[in-house]
């Protein structure tokens, strides 16, 4: 059973269709990179996986649980899917430590001490233990995004969703975030990553999904994608982002 499975998912904003019959899956321990031009529906697709974006047709299963089913306990499901956002979305009024413990305490019911121990261990792992008492506004973008990854990991997720995690970063900070993600991928974390970082895709992705106009145009292994892409749209896209 795949960890994340999308079956014929469609979504409309009014009469405008943002997702058009999307079908794909992410197996356990698999890293899938989703790419495509802006406005192609990548972010909408990844937000549909944990129910942040409702969809009108089709079905999404995470670990066998249907996301679109009104009977599904979404908070409970989301607690086990980590998500990292383009704009970090740390909570600005909380110290880094509180950012790391909030979900553990309020959602998982861990004690403050337990949550803090876990959170600080992960903060150490992303190399930012010394920043534990600071506030998000006092950290650089790259540091904030690493904290955001640690925050997601502190919930012991069964899968991680990354929505353009490096798009809002200054160029010199992209690598520190990608390094953390590469390490995670190598440890066998199930990951669905919306990104334009083809270097990351080359290094650790198992499969690449290419989207355009709300449709999944390519869904193939990394080698197939970088070797011999079949669709013209994917080739045009690749030539635009790879040649400088």
């Amino acid at each position: 059973m795949p960890m994340i499975e999308l079956r014929n998912v469609s979504k409309w904003y009014g009469s405008f269709q943002v997702l058009d019959d999307c079908t794909t899956r992410v197996g356990k321990g698999e890293v899938v990179v989703v790419c495509g031009p802006s406005g192609s529906g990548k972010s909408t697709l990844i937000k549909a996986v944990n129910g942040l974006e409702p969809f009108q047709k089709g079905e999404i299963l995470v670990n066998g649980v249907s996301v679109g089913d009104p009977k599904t306990n979404l908070p409970k499901l989301r607690a086990h899917i980590g998500m990292v956002f383009q704009n970090f979305e740390l909570f600005p009024h909380m110290s880094i430590t509180r950012n790391l413990t909030l979900g553990q305490v309020k959602v998982l019911g861990r004690s403050q001490e337990e949550a803090e121990a876990k959170g600080l261990k992960l903060l150490d792992r992303v190399g930012l233990l010394s920043q534990k008492d600071k506030f998000p506004g006092q950290l650089s973008g790259g540091q904030q995004q690493r904290v955001a990854i640690a925050r997601a990991l502190s919930m012991d997720p069964i899968a991680m969703l990354f929505d353009e995690p490096t798009s809002a970063l200054d160029p010199e900070m992209i690598n520190e975030v990608l390094d953390v993600m590469v390490e995670l991928a190598r440890e066998g974390m199930t990951m669905m990553v919306v990104t334009h970082e083809m270097g990351f895709a080359r290094k650790v992705a198992h499969r690449v999904v290419f989207m355009d106009n709300g449709q999944i145009v390519e869904d193939c292994t990394k080698d197939e994608f970088f070797g011999s892409v079949r669709s013209e749209r994917a080739q045009t896209f690749l030539s635009k982002i790879l040649h400088h």
């Binding site: 944990n50 908070p75 909570f91 600005p92 600071k134 506030f135 998000p136 919930m155």
Partner: protein, 255 residues
Amino acid sequence: MDWKVLLEQAPSGGMTYLGWLWSGLFWTLAVSLCAWVIAFSVGSVVGVARTVPLRVPRAIATAYVELFRNIPLLVQMFLWYFVMPEVVPKAWGDWLKQDMPNLLTLPFAAQFSLWEFTAAVLCLGLYTASRVAEQVRSGIQSLSVGQTNAGLAMGLTLPQVYRHVTLPMAYRIVIPPMTSEFLTIFKNSSTALTIGVLELTAQSRQISEYTFKTFEAFTAATLIYIVITMTVIFAMRALESRVAVPGYIAQGGGR
């Protein structure tokens, strides 16, 4: 100018005219602070309700705001005081008008009944709540949707997201406009004189009528109002720097 007039014995209450001013100040503060408690709590609930993704609470909250902010405050004062007792069952109306305990036994002898005080507090509180609600709503909506999404994505329920993520930032952001509302409630409390609450403005008018010292009476009231509002401004500034978030720069520019 003859400020000594304030120290003369007033014709009622067993105090000087200055005593009347203190009594007026007491009732201005009492009406305003009680009304602020209502305004802040009702306004917060209504403001939050205007932002939730549920149609019915949103519609009710919008109707509340439009109703209360579109009727002149003075008209609302009369509606609460004169009209409300007539539209409730007769026994209740009579109780409101006649049998509510009188406040004569309280300090700062008040020559009005608890009903006048209650009507003024309800009116001012519920009217200001509609304005507070708009501040709370704008504060919440100034935050990015990503904040709510981040809260939801870690498994918090929507009420938990409001409690821990959205509202703490929204309240911080709206401290400056909220200060204005808080100031306005003290100034608007003077409309309570129209239904017989002897607050500060009513007392100074009364002093002016008894002594013909119009300038002194209203200057004294003006100074007292300024002392109140300056106190509020300094208190709110202290609050603002106390809860300031390190490293956080409000969207739309620094300070």
